[in-house]
Point group: C2
Chain length 346, copies 2
């Protein structure tokens, strides 16, 4: 266990916003920080309610859970947001919104730091008057960045291969997906993806999933691939010779190679897949890499990661939440920053 | 290897249509029938071009492939469809269409028989003037059945658990999915699914996936779940006390339990998941059960299965096609029929 009470300007800093406090955020943070997998040479700054973190600690201890850290040994940026009686969701939504705002402010103060965010409840944000489709949108707005990407990344514990899936569209209703997609959007996402991957490999191998069943099967099962997606991928590939890009690939087989590379060291690998919509990307990610997958925002002036699960309201307070994804989020925030050109860059 | 030249009225019959002959259909049939996993007490009737099957056999032999059967040892219902020079796709589409028509006719002649279909190319069917969105639709029309279901089923070689996913919508463009879904459709599919599952278990446990990211997250990411899907599932559950049904479940975690049950004998199991659209169901099926998954049509007067992959035009003739899914299709056609009330019923 690291004693994190001393702030050291030189050490790499991980800023953690606790997310929605009626969910499992505080619990998985206290569990994750206990993990032996967390690099020892990091400083942590937790942004949230100190009181709530202490209560979570006491509750977990009373349940007999030993493998947790004491929040008093950590630097907590304590924020007290007024709590409205009988409006728990709204109050927690408001609190988690301002924790994130403050965490963004802090991470930008340091030259070598990354941000890890606990899960929030979009409905609660909305009830509190914060109308964002997710934390990513607030991050982009606050950092005044036009184009960001929601990337899910997981490092296989079996092969060491890093499995990356970027979403072209994110938290929107399924019926809006075909309308939202465009050549411009695909190109922007491929630009972001290529830039990200090039900080790790020389010539990234990217795949683009189709939108329709069998990628439209020559126009029979949907026209988008034939009308413009195929052309968008080819055009981008011609303009980016430093990247090997293929697609649109039939969505239902597009992740088969990821599944193999996750388990088998001898299988061919790839650097990333661009999914057209949330569940197209998230379903294979969770089936292949459950508990190892991390939500990363690319395109920001710093690396931001978060666990790949939600608030877990149904299991909060019971002590049974799995912290592996938070562990991976912290590890990935550090790994992705130190290995990339972004390190010390902001 | 079974010698299948004698037709025996009492033996269980598997009728196999070869599918598109420019694809891997004929190859995987000759490979699959050699497999030791195929039950020995079955009669096979292959519907296709005898000439093409013989040529496939010779080609595979010339490539040094030994683990294949000689089609001359099997009963072939030989059909010669006129071939149009320079219109290969159209000709093959026309042939595969009539092979299936004939195979349906044959399977209905026998009291104990099931149908296995090789993969076809919908584009080629369309070029030949056969406008169906898939083989399933032709099967329903030919058998004069109003409601059929496209079920993907796979038996785990690790745990023996059978993993079933039914599609609410099938081969349609993604943009049409939200318009096509209705309470009526969900109820019809749940009726079919429950009827199917009840031939194997007393009180099936069914799950229904949501349509939108996080199943709409209380209306924030899509309104269908809140507006009617939740109500449709609850209503159906109230009318069908012999089935345990839950949903709509967040699509990106809905198949996590399937992944666990596939690998771990101690994990909780379920009898089936109803997916809202093609790739929502097919992506997890292929990631979890690649090469073991079988496409089954439920609601017909006989069991029909097919491998879960396409024509494989890019690898046809090379001898490298995997026949495991065809082996599973044959095994499942037999297993699902002999274990169910459908056996001897038509």
């Amino acid at each position: 266990m690291n004693n994190q009470s001393n702030d050291n300007e030189d050490k790499f800093k991980i800023i953690i916003s606790v997310g929605d406090e009626s969910g499992i955020g505080p619990e998985i943070i206290l569990k994750a920080l206990f993990s032996k997998e967390i690099p020892y040479n990091l400083d942590f700054i937790i942004v949230g309610s100190k009181n709530n973190l202490e209560n979570t600690y006491k509750n977990l201890k009373s349940l007999g859970i030993k493998n947790i850290v004491d929040p008093n040994n950590y630097q907590i940026h304590d924020i007290q947001i007024p709590f409205e009686i009988n409006k728990q969701k709204k109050s927690n939504g408001n609190a988690s919104f301002f924790y994130l705002k403050k965490a963004i402010e802090i991470v930008q103060k340091y030259t070598n730091a990354a941000l890890v965010t606990g899960p929030i409840c979009k409905k609660s944000w909305s009830l509190a008057g914060h109308n964002y489709s997710g934390q990513t949108e607030l991050l982009a707005e606050t950092c005044q960045v036009k184009d960001v990407g929601m990337l899910f990344t997981a490092k296989s514990p079996i092969t060491g291969w890093r499995f990356n899936t970027l979403l072209a569209t994110t938290h929107i209703p399924l019926c809006d997906v075909p309308k939202k997609l465009s050549t411009q959007l695909i190109h922007t996402k491929l630009d972001l993806f290529a830039k990200f991957c090039k900080t790790y490999v020389n010539k990234p191998l990217l795949k683009v999933a189709g939108l329709n069943p069998h990628a439209g099967e020559e126009g029979i099962l949907g026209s988008e691939e034939k009308d413009w997606i195929k052309n968008a991928v080819t055009t981008w590939g011609n303009q980016n010779k430093g990247v090997h890009v293929s697609g649109p690939i039939s969505p239902d087989t597009c992740w088969n190679s990821s599944s193999k590379a996750w388990r088998d060291k001898t299988a061919p690998t790839h650097d990333g897949i661009l999914a057209m919509y949330h569940d197209q990307g998230l379903i294979p990610i969770k089936v292949i890499a459950l508990n190892y997958s991390v939500n990363t925002t690319i395109g920001l002036p710093f690396i931001r990661t978060s666990p790949d699960h939600g608030t877990g309201f149904d299991i909060a307070g019971k002590g049974i939440a799995q912290s592996q994804s938070m562990v991976e989020a912290i590890k990935a925030a550090f790994d992705l920053t130190k290995d990339s050109r972004l390190f010390n860059a902001h």
